[in-house]
């Protein structure tokens, strides 16, 4: 298979599109996901959850449940570690409430029984006495003077005096003088925006199978984006040592950030310890919606000044993020990403992390960035409309480049925003005619990407094939891309390499598969592990030939003398060296452990056409184009898949998806029927353009692609819808009722 012509740079395997190693398992139903494991003597568990948004737990009576036939264990908060502090305390409080239920769906007890139905029956027999407390679920209301306090003393030192105790963290950043900048503008546009919480909507609910003995030794099988994190958290929450808990990750049925968090594994371990049997715990879809980690909801104010020529003179934003009943809403990311695409002399951003009676927010693909882009890029679109300027030209005029002082502080290294804008400008989509009732929107988006702790091991077999062990769960085809990078370095076929996501006992600590880091960091570690193995292979050849190690080079899968002066020897292929390795010094294993810090930030530009039915308020996406800088696309098909997936999730976020809480503080749409993610008939084909501006921090230039693709869609679609409807939409999702309300408001002046 030849590499794609426009993406090669002397690569033989990188840039090609081989079949994924887990392909057959996944099309035949053989792949084992979280809920697909069983163990001898296994029990099934069920969790009892608060039906109230905020309530004191007065009493939990488990006696009737315990008396039910087949019930083997019941646990409450008393069965978990005591004396935890900091983030571990927060996680435990979320995993199992102590004295107060903080949101609808908060776990208060759990039961294990011999059958799944029996566990569910028993859960219904656990009687919990509550005293209802006042609640709040809206971000602006949670900051208001009269809002009930979720937890006094939760705020950290960053919060200025005089703010409500629900404001638990505060962020301020920027540079220049925004007042001076606004005074230099020909037009200043100011607007306020709101976005509702959405859910990652992975199709596989959280599931685990856990065993914990009275000796503190345990095993966990679960679907997670980060099994080393599961190990660490479980050990703390059940009170044992990390190294005594071995966690094996299953295939993961989607995560998108939502499976970076621990919810059920410590509960299964606590039940197992009590029952002395393995326990399987699988969430229902309703539990996933009510009690995992949706995004923050936001309330945002944006003010941008622009000259008649389209130069931005100043920009400022206030970003309020509601992150549920615990600190941690990603308001710094929102603030830092908001103006990152633009080179600004005067910029100022403020962030508030606000607690409310909702589940603790979790990451969802570029956490915090899409909402910022929605607000900022809407105002830029409005400025372009009012000043009659071309929206791509304005973005090009103000675009961040290498050397630009970023809105969040540092100077950008080599970045590819301009290249994505130029590619968008050249794309036929941008000049194609629009039909009646249609509007076009464009938007840029930004995400940092991440490195993080990484360990990879690469072992040679005697037959010349190679096994790679990585510690980052494969969430987007990374077993294929790791094998491609190793094949490139070693000079052996892709098919001769098998990548395994190894358990926590096999490798050093690996950070979670998040931050678009896997192809970057595990990829870098794989390349370096392969180079380590190559060095050892060259050493064996040197010893055989009786020459200096430095006189041996590795080319096309063979050790060769570095030149005529080194001697005249037949090249030694990898397989030949591997065959005799037992006699020439022992097993050959390359490895690499580090915390790579050269992750490359990435930008995207999206173009979208939307058609709005002004009678019904219904919106149809009729055309969509994603242009994104990948740095280097290792497997272009999977890169396209990330682009398309991010865009599709963005379409859902923009048009349909939202958490709807009733007056009683209960979630009203905890199922896929009412929380409607895009279905096949909602979407058009999604065109992709892969731009490659290499990241100097990776041997092949990889930036990571998973997250940036969800940054522009909310804004691009809002701009398309606003242009189609003739009225600016400032709240997400732009569901039919909101569009009709905006049209009515405009008609009524």
């Amino acid at each position: 298979m030849a590499p794609d012509g426009n993406m090669t740079n002397g690569f033989k395997v990188v840039g090609t599109r081989p079949k994924r190693p887990d392909g057959i398992d996944k099309v035949t139903g053989r792949a084992k996901f979280g809920a697909d494991a069983t163990a001898p003597g296994m029990l099934h568990a069920s969790i009892v959850r608060s039906p109230h948004a905020h309530a004191k737990i007065l009493k939990i009576d488990t006696s009737k449940a315990e008396a039910l036939k087949g019930v083997k264990a019941v646990v409450t908060r008393a069965d978990f570690a005591e004396g935890l502090t900091g983030e571990n305390w927060n996680i435990l409080e979320n995993v199992m409430a102590s004295d107060t239920a903080l949101y609808d769906g908060h776990a208060v007890a759990a039961v294990a029984a011999t059958t799944a139905l029996g566990a569910r029956d028993a859960a219904k027999l656990i009687e919990v006495e509550y005293e209802l407390l006042p609640h709040v679920t809206d971000v602006d209301k949670a900051m208001a003077d009269d809002a009930p306090v979720i937890r006094a003393g939760a705020a950290d030192k960053s919060v200025p005096e005089g703010l409500h105790p629900n404001v638990v963290r505060y962020h301020e950043s920027g540079h220049g003088d925004v007042d001076k900048g606004f005074s230099e503008a020909d037009l200043v546009v100011e607007d306020s925006f709101k976005t509702e919480a959405t859910h990652q909507g992975y199709i596989e609910p959280h599931a685990c199978l856990a065993q914990l003995g009275s000796d503190g030794k345990g095993e966990v099988w679960c679907c997670t984006q980060g099994h080393f994190n599961v190990q660490k958290v479980c050990a703390a929450l059940v009170g044992t040592d990390s190294s005594q808990i071995r966690v094996t990750p299953s295939e993961i049925g989607g995560g998108f950030g939502g499976k970076t968090v621990v919810f059920i594994e410590p509960v299964a371990l606590a039940l197992s310890r009590k029952a002395n049997r393995p326990v399987k715990l699988v969430m229902s879809r309703s539990e996933v919606f009510r009690a995992t980690g949706p995004t923050a909801s936001t309330s945002i104010d944006i003010k941008i000044g622009m000259t008649r020529e389209g130069k931005i003179t100043a920009a400022q934003g206030v970003f309020r993020l509601q992150g549920g009943a615990f600190p941690g809403a990603p308001m710094e990311f929102t603030a830092m990403c908001a103006f990152a695409p633009y080179s600004l002399e005067n910029v100022h951003q403020v962030g508030y992390d606000v607690m409310s009676n909702r589940p603790k927010q979790a990451a969802y693909r570029a956490p915090g960035s899409p909402m910022a882009a929605f607000a900022v890029e809407s105002v830029i679109d409005e400025l372009c409309n009012k000043l009659d300027l071309d929206s791509i030209e304005v973005r090009l005029k103000n675009a961040s480049k290498e050397g630009t002082k970023a809105s969040y502080g540092p100077k950008f290294e080599r970045i590819g925003l301009v290249e994505t804008l130029e590619a968008a400008k050249a794309h036929p989509h941008l000049t194609s005619p629009l039909a009646e009732g249609q509007g076009r929107g464009v938007s840029c988006g930004f995400w940092f990407n991440h490195g993080g702790e990484t360990a990879v091991s690469l072992a040679l077999s005697e037959d010349g094939t190679v096994a790679i062990s990585v510690g980052t769960p494969d969430i987007g085809g990374s077993r294929a891309s790791m094998a491609q990078m190793a094949a490139e370095e070693l000079g052996i076929p892709y098919e001769s390499i098998r990548t395994t996501v190894a358990d926590t006992a096999t490798l050093g600590y690996n950070e979670i598969s998040h931050g678009s880091r896997v192809t970057y960091a595990s990829g870098l570690a794989t390349i370096k592990a392969a180079r380590d193995a190559v060095k050892k292979l060259c050493g064996r050849a040197a010893a055989k030939w009786g020459i200096d190690e430095d006189a041996v080079v590795w080319e096309d899968g063979c050790a060769k003398p570095s030149g005529p002066n080194a001697g005249d020897f037949e090249p030694l292929p990898l397989a030949k060296i591997a065959r005799s390795m037992g006699r020439t010094g022992g097993p050959i294993v390359g490895h690499y452990e580090a915390t790579p810090e050269g992750a490359g930030v990435s930008f995207a530009t999206h173009i979208v056409d939307a058609e709005v039915d002004k009678e019904t308020g219904q919106t149809k996406i009729v055309r969509y184009t994603v242009v994104q800088d990948a740095g280097k696309a290792i497997h272009p098909t999977y890169v396209e898949g990330q682009f398309q997936g991010g865009a599709a999730q963005g379409i859902g976020w923009a048009l349909n998806e939202e958490y709807i809480y009733g007056e009683d503080g209960r979630l009203q749409n905890s199922g896929f029927l009412d929380y409607r993610i895009p279905v096949a008939s909602d979407l058009p084909m999604i065109d992709t353009v892969i731009v490659e501006v290499p990241n100097p921090g990776h041997p092949y230039g990889v930036r990571g692609v998973g997250e940036t693709s969800i940054c522009p869609p909310l804004a691009a679609i809002a701009n398309a819808v606003s242009n189609a409807a003739g009225v600016r939409l400032t709240e997400l999702p732009m569901s039919p009722p909101r569009i009709l309300a905006a049209l009515d408001a405009q008609a009524n002046g």
């Binding site: 099309v27 990652q200 199709i203 609910p205 999977y638 396209e640 398309q644 896929f672």
Partner: protein, 159 residues
């Protein structure tokens, strides 16, 4: 609660099982027959990850009771390939990367096979509406739709 004895056919093999009257067909397939290819994504018939055929009709196995399988012929993802030989849809899904995490894939494939049996020459719109009951959160459906349309074209050429 007394169990119900059921005799049925799964992927061409006769099977017998005992089940609680409340157990769904999906529960039975996964927990009693160890056929874990069908997945429970919602339990309410919204996501299609549990799609199987019952007497050649496409159904969500989470919406049918195990006891209702008596005397029926059930088809699951485990029966789609002919031994080592993958079904052309399975081949094409791998080739086109029409799956990322793969958890919806068994349901999508079972649903698609049922579509092509009914309609060997579907339009893009027909494929999109047929698969509207199979949620995929990873791919944005683009590569799935292309894989289905191109497999259908291949099969028409071959027949």
């Amino acid at each position: 609660m007394s169990m119900i004895h059921v005799t049925t056919t799964v992927n061409g093999d006769e099977v017998e099982f005992l089940c609680d009257p409340r157990e769904t067909l999906l529960d039975v397939l996964r927990d009693r027959l160890s056929l874990t290819g069908a997945k429970e994504g919602c339990g309410t018939g919204d996501c299609g990850a549990c799609s199987v055929t019952v007497d050649d009709r496409l159904v969500c196995s989470c919406l049918m009771l195990g006891a209702e399988a008596e005397g029926k012929s059930i088809g699951t993802i485990e029966g789609m390939a002919d031994g080592e030989a993958l079904h052309p849809l399975q081949e094409k899904f791998i080739e086109y990367a029409a799956l990322q995490c793969g958890v919806c894939t068994p349901g999508v494939l079972v649903a698609t096979e049922a579509l092509l049996k009914k309609n060997p020459d579907p339009t893009e719109t027909e494929v999109r509406y047929w698969l509207a009951g199979n949620l995929c959160r990873c791919t944005g459906y683009d590569k799935i739709i292309r894989a289905v349309l191109d497999t259908a074209a291949d099969l028409r050429k071959a027949s």
